[in-house]
C-alpha cells in the first residue's frame, strides 16, 4: 500500500514536470531574445532603432531603424485583415444563422482545410498566381509586392475568424434567437442586433488572434512580398516584414556573435512583444466572456 502511494507521487511529479517544460519554453524564448537583444542594444542606440527610417544591417552603409520592417509588417497585415475580417464574419454569421445544418457541417471542415495548408504553399500561390493576376490589371505591381502577400494571407486566416466566430455564435442559447424571431424580427435583424452583439467578445477574440497570426506569418511574405525594407504604404511595391528579414539573414552566412546575427533577435523581440500583447488581450477577453455565459 505504501509502495502504491509512493508510485502515485512519482507519477504525479513526472506529469507536472512535463507541464513545466511549457513554462521553460516561454522562459527560454524570453531569455534568448533578451540576452541577444542586450548585445544588440549595447552597440546600437535604442533611439536609432526606434526612429531611424532605414534598415540596412547587411550593407556597408549600416542603419538599424526598425520602422521600415514595422511598416512592411503593418501593411501586409492590414491588407490581410481587410480581406479576412469581413469575409470571415459574414461566413460565420451565414453558417451559424442561415445555412441548413447539413451545409454547415460539410462546409466548416472544408474551410478549415484552408488553415491546414502549409504556408509555403500559400507563398507559392501568391507568387505564381495572385501576383501575375494583379499585374494583369493594376499598373505598377512589382514581382514582389505587399498586396499579393496580404491578400493571400487574408485568405489563409479566413477560417480562423469564421470558425472561432461561428463557435461563439453557436454557443449562444437558442432561446435568444427565438425571443427575437417571436417578436417578428427577420433572420438578418436577429443575427446582427441580437446574436452578433451577444457573441461580440468571441468574435473580437477571433479577430485579435487572426491579427497576431498575420503579424507572425513568415513564408507568404518572405516569398511574395520581397526583401526590400522600405518605408512605404504603397501596396504595389515590395516590402520586407520583420519575419521576412529573419529568414533573409538565416539563409545567408552571417557569423554567430556578429552584430548582423544579433539583429534577428532585436527584430524577433519586437515581433514577440506585439504578438504577446495581442495574445494576452485575447486570453483575458476569452476568460471574461466565458464567465458571462457559465
Amino acid at each position: 500500500m505504501k509502495l502504491k502511494r509512493t508510485a502515485e507521487k512519482v507519477i504525479e511529479s513526472g506529469l507536472a514536470l512535463s507541464g513545466l517544460i511549457t513554462l521553460l519554453t516561454t522562459l527560454g524564448i524570453i531569455w534568448v531574445l533578451v540576452t541577444e537583444s542586450i548585445g544588440f542594444f549595447s552597440e546600437v542606440s535604442i533611439v536609432d532603432f526606434l526612429f531611424d527610417t532605414q534598415w540596412t544591417p547587411l550593407f556597408t552603409q549600416k542603419h538599424y531603424g526598425i520602422l521600415p520592417l514595422l511598416s512592411g509588417t503593418f501593411l501586409t497585415t492590414s491588407i490581410a485583415i481587410l480581406v479576412a475580417v469581413p469575409l470571415g464574419v459574414i461566413i460565420a454569421v451565414y453558417l451559424s444563422e442561415y445555412a441548413p445544418y447539413k451545409f454547415r457541417i460539410t462546409v466548416k471542415p472544408l474551410l478549415e482545410l484552408l488553415a491546414a495548408v502549409p504556408t509555403v504553399v500559400y507563398g507559392f500561390f501568391a507568387l505564381t498566381v495572385v501576383t501575375p493576376f494583379l499585374q494583369s490589371f493594376i499598373p505598377g505591381v512589382s514581382t514582389f509586392n505587399a498586396l499579393s502577400a496580404g491578400l493571400v494571407m487574408g485568405i489563409m486566416i479566413i477560417p480562423m475568424i469564421s470558425s472561432l466566430s461561428e463557435d461563439a455564435l453557436q454557443a449562444l442559447p437558442k432561446s435568444l434567437r427565438e425571443a427575437s424571431f417571436g417578436m417578428g424580427a427577420t433572420r438578418f435583424q436577429t443575427a446582427f442586433k441580437v446574436a452578433v452583439p451577444a457573441a461580440s467578445s468571441g468574435i473580437i477574440v477571433s479577430v485579435i488572434l487572426a491579427i497576431a497570426r498575420a503579424i507572425g506569418e513568415t513564408m507568404v511574405v518572405a516569398m511574395a512580398a520581397g526583401q526590400q525594407p522600405q518605408l512605404t504604404l504603397d501596396p504595389r511595391e515590395g516590402v520586407e516584414t520583420i519575419t521576412a528579414y529573419i529568414v533573409q539573414v538565416s539563409l545567408g552566412d552571417v557569423p554567430h556573435g556578429s552584430l548582423a546575427y544579433k539583429t534577428i533577435f532585436a527584430a524577433g523581440i519586437t515581433l514577440f512583444a506585439f504578438t504577446f500583447l495581442l495574445n494576452n488581450i485575447s486570453y483575458w477577453l476569452k476568460k471574461k466572456y466565458q464567465e458571462k455565459y457559465e
Binding site: 435568444l176 427565438e178 427575437s180 417571436g182 417578436m183 417578428g184 424580427a185 427577420t186 442586433k193
Partner: protein, 251 residues
C-alpha cells in the same frame, strides 16, 4: 365572442415522425386557453405552429390550416414577421437579450424601424406598467436585463412582447422555471392581460390551468383528446384518458 384562431386538420411531422394528428380547434378572443398533457404529447409543438416558430426546424413539416382572423398563416405570401408581431410569444425559460431593460422592451419597435424616441419611451413605460414591472425597474431602466431575478426577467419578456402590440400572446410554460411567488405574479398578470389580449398557454401544472384558463385542451400522444370549458374538463371529463390524467394516474 368571435374566434380569433381556428385550426383545421393540423398534422405535424418531424421527418417521418407523426407528432400531431388532425388537430381542429377554435380559440376565442379575449380568453385564456390552456393546453395540458404529458411531456411529448405535442402541446408545445402545437402552440409553436400558431405563430410559425417551427419554421426554422429543418425536419419540420405540416399539413392542414391555421387561420388567424380568418387568414391562413401558412399561405406562401404571408409575411411571417408581420404574423409574429401580431401573435407574440413568451418562452419557457426567461430569455432577455443581454442588453439593458429599456432596450429589451424597445427591441420590437427598433426592428420595425421606429425612430421616434418619445413614442418608444412611452411605449416602453406602458408595456412595463402592463406587465406589472414598472415599479420595480423604473429607476434602473438602463441596467442590464440579466441583473433581474428570474421572475422579473419573465415579466420583462412579457413586457417586451406587449410593446409590439400583439393581439394574441402564446405562452409556452411561462412559469415552469420560476418559484411559487413569481408564478403567482405571472398568473395574476395573465388574468389582467386577458382583457386586452387573447392568451394561449401551455402548462404542465393542472392547478394552474384550472386557476387561470377559460378553456382547456388535453393532448395525448399527438391527439387532441378533449377540448372544453375548463370547469367541465376538470369536473366532468368525457374521455377516459382525460380523467386518468386529471386524477393523476399517469403523466
Amino acid at each position: 365572442m368571435k374566434n380569433i384562431i381556428e385550426t383545421k386538420d393540423v398534422n405535424v411531422f418531424y421527418d417521418t415522425n407523426h407528432v400531431l394528428k388532425d388537430i381542429t380547434m377554435d380559440i376565442k378572443e379575449h380568453s385564456v386557453t390552456a393546453f395540458i398533457g404529458p411531456s411529448g404529447c405535442g402541446k408545445s409543438t402545437f402552440i409553436r405552429c400558431l405563430n410559425r416558430m417551427n419554421d426554422y426546424i429543418e425536419s419540420f413539416s405540416m399539413k392542414g390550416q391555421v387561420l388567424i382572423d380568418g387568414k391562413d398563416i401558412y399561405k406562401k405570401k404571408v409575411r411571417v414577421e408581420e404574423l409574429r408581431q401580431k401573435v407574440g410569444m413568451v418562452f419557457q425559460k426567461p430569455n432577455p437579450f443581454p442588453k439593458s431593460i429599456f432596450e429589451n422592451v424597445a427591441y420590437g419597435l427598433h426592428i420595425q424601424g421606429e425612430t421616434d424616441k418619445q413614442l418608444i419611451a412611452e411605449r416602453v413605460e406602458k408595456s412595463l406598467h402592463r406587465s406589472a414591472l414598472w415599479k420595480e425597474v423604473k429607476d434602473i431602466l438602463h441596467k442590464s436585463a440579466l441583473s433581474l431575478s428570474g421572475g422579473q426577467q419573465q415579466r420583462l419578456c412579457i413586457a417586451r412582447t406587449l410593446a409590439v402590440k400583439p393581439s394574441v400572446i402564446l405562452m409556452d410554460e411561462p412559469a415552469s422555471a420560476l418559484d411559487p411567488i413569481s408564478t403567482a405574479k405571472i398568473e395574476e398578470l395573465i388574468l389582467e392581460l386577458k382583457q386586452h389580449y387573447t392568451i394561449v398557454i401551455v402548462t404542465h401544472n393542472m392547478q394552474q390551468a384550472s386557476r387561470i384558463s377559460d378553456r382547456t385542451a388535453f393532448f395525448y400522444m399527438g391527439d387532441l383528446i378533449e377540448y372544453d370549458k375548463t370547469k367541465d374538463i376538470f369536473t366532468n371529463p368525457k374521455k377516459k384518458e382525460t380523467e386518468n390524467y386529471i386524477s393523476g394516474r399517469f403523466g
